[in-house]
């Protein structure tokens, strides 16, 4: 589908790495396609990474997000882009980044849960007045809505779709991207998962957050909600969840009140992320004409259980 994009992006990455005139002396194996999706094609060439963003990405907002990643206030939190001129490829904006070493999917015990928690706390605590602006809205809830639309377009079996739809319709409007979030907004990542961290300079540098496509102002609990959703679905062990949320609280992350139960603020975002993940899984399984596997069923079960328990109200809303 986008083979021509990856080929062109590979050439672009090569030029970014060596300049337009120098010979490439890199070993043949070095150009690597790290991701190839409509909303993000990523090619590595040596120490340079080129990313083609979504065709419909708002160019002004992307420029602001890039400027935030390059801002000194986010040094040590977000990977800064390379200082290369913006370009377009096949109607998609292209940005350039230094290569960093990702989390090893085959070594769960070395996943940097404390570091993720601490990085998010620092991101959320960044004073936004000093940052380039106007800062766009964090796209987390919008992505959840997109996932549900994607599931609907795939036409999954009715009983499966009904479970996801019921959990989705029980969410408050803000979590479905239909209104502004309640409470104070902070700088948020918007799409946190373990693929969003790299060590730079790798493989022993500090951990940094990558991918600013969804970054913006929003409810910071959203960034904690995907691990919370995995934990609630039984996919993440209590020890790992506690390492993550404990590090976030210890670093004074503003999303959860210190020393008290974090679930009242996590409940709605964790439900939304569970629905989003389940919707994507159902869409993929339907398109591939296969049954849901045990992990996907665990997410669907979580959606099912939600229907029986109304969303929790955060403490301030309950008063």
């Amino acid at each position: 589908m986008s083979t021509s994009v990856t080929r062109a992006l590979t050439a672009t990455a090569r030029t970014a790495a060596h300049g337009p005139y120098a010979e490439c002396t890199c070993p043949a194996a070095i150009p690597t396609v790290l991701a190839d999706r409509d909303d993000g094609t990523v090619v590595r060439h040596g120490t340079t990474v080129a990313k083609a963003h979504a065709r419909d990405a708002d160019r002004t907002q992307l420029a602001t997000r890039l400027a935030v990643a390059a801002h000194p206030a986010l040094s040590g939190v977000l990977l800064a882009p390379l200082d290369l001129p913006a370009t377009e490829l096949d109607g998609r904006p292209v940005t350039f980044w230094p290569y960093g070493t990702p989390v090893d999917p085959d070594a769960p015990r070395s996943a940097p849960w404390e570091e993720v928690g601490t990085l998010l706390a620092r991101l959320h605590a960044t004073p936004v007045e000093a940052l380039p602006g106007p800062l766009p809205v964090m796209r987390g809830p919008h992505k959840a809505a997109l996932a549900v639309s994607r599931m609907r377009r795939a036409h999954p079996p009715e009983p499966v779709a009904a479970v996801v739809e019921r959990a989705w319709s029980a969410l408050p409007p803000w979590a479905r991207a239909e209104s502004a979030p309640p409470g104070p907004v902070h700088l948020c990542h918007g799409d946190l998962h373990l693929g969003q961290l790299v060590r730079h300079p790798g493989p022993h540098g500090r951990w940094l957050l990558i991918d600013v496509d969804d970054l913006g102002l929003g409810n910071p609990a959203w960034d904690l909600a995907r691990p919370a959703a995995w934990y609630a679905a039984g996919l993440l062990a209590p020890e790992e969840w506690l390492r993550f949320i404990g590090a976030y609280a210890a670093a004074a992350g503003p999303a959860v009140p210190s020393g008290t139960d974090p679930w009242p603020v996590l409940d709605v975002p964790a439900r939304a992320l569970t629905v989003q993940t389940a919707a994507v899984a159902v869409a993929k399984a339907t398109a591939a004409r296969r049954a849901l596997d045990e992990i996907e069923l665990a997410l669907l079960d979580a959606c099912d259980r939600m229907a029986a328990v109304p969303p929790e109200l955060p403490a301030e809303a309950a008063k």
């Binding site: 998962h193 062990a237 949320i245 404990g246 609280a249 679930w263 409940d267 994507v280 979580a302 259980r305």
Partner: protein
């Protein structure tokens, strides 16, 4: 007897020789004088019979300062430590790394 809380009838069960009453309505449990102590004694005897390698060798987990261990009411029952391995290994590579 009837439940002191919800007035529903209570049923008597025998657990390791200890009589306990459970309410058919609210599922609350009533223990007579000395029954809690009897159950505690049985529990400690059972723990002592456990294979000697495990409890003393494993360092006690650090006390959790943060009250986040309870999943939400809609969460999956966590089967406790050690039962997660295969499930987690399988899920880790895929779910935890994608949007």
């Amino acid at each position: 007897m009837h439940c002191p809380k919800c007035r529903a009838p209570m049923q008597t069960y025998n657990r390791n020789g200890v009589q306990i009453e459970q309410c058919n309505g609210c599922r609350g449990i009533f223990l007579d004088y000395g029954e809690l102590e009897a159950l505690t004694r049985l529990e400690s005897q059972w723990a002592q019979q456990a294979p000697p390698a495990a409890p003393p060798a494993a360092p006690a987990p650090a006390p959790q300062a943060y009250p986040a261990a309870q999943p939400p009411a809609w969460g999956a029952p966590h089967p406790g430590h050690g039962h997660h391995g295969h499930y987690r290994q399988k899920s880790f590579g895929r779910m935890l790394f994608s949007s």
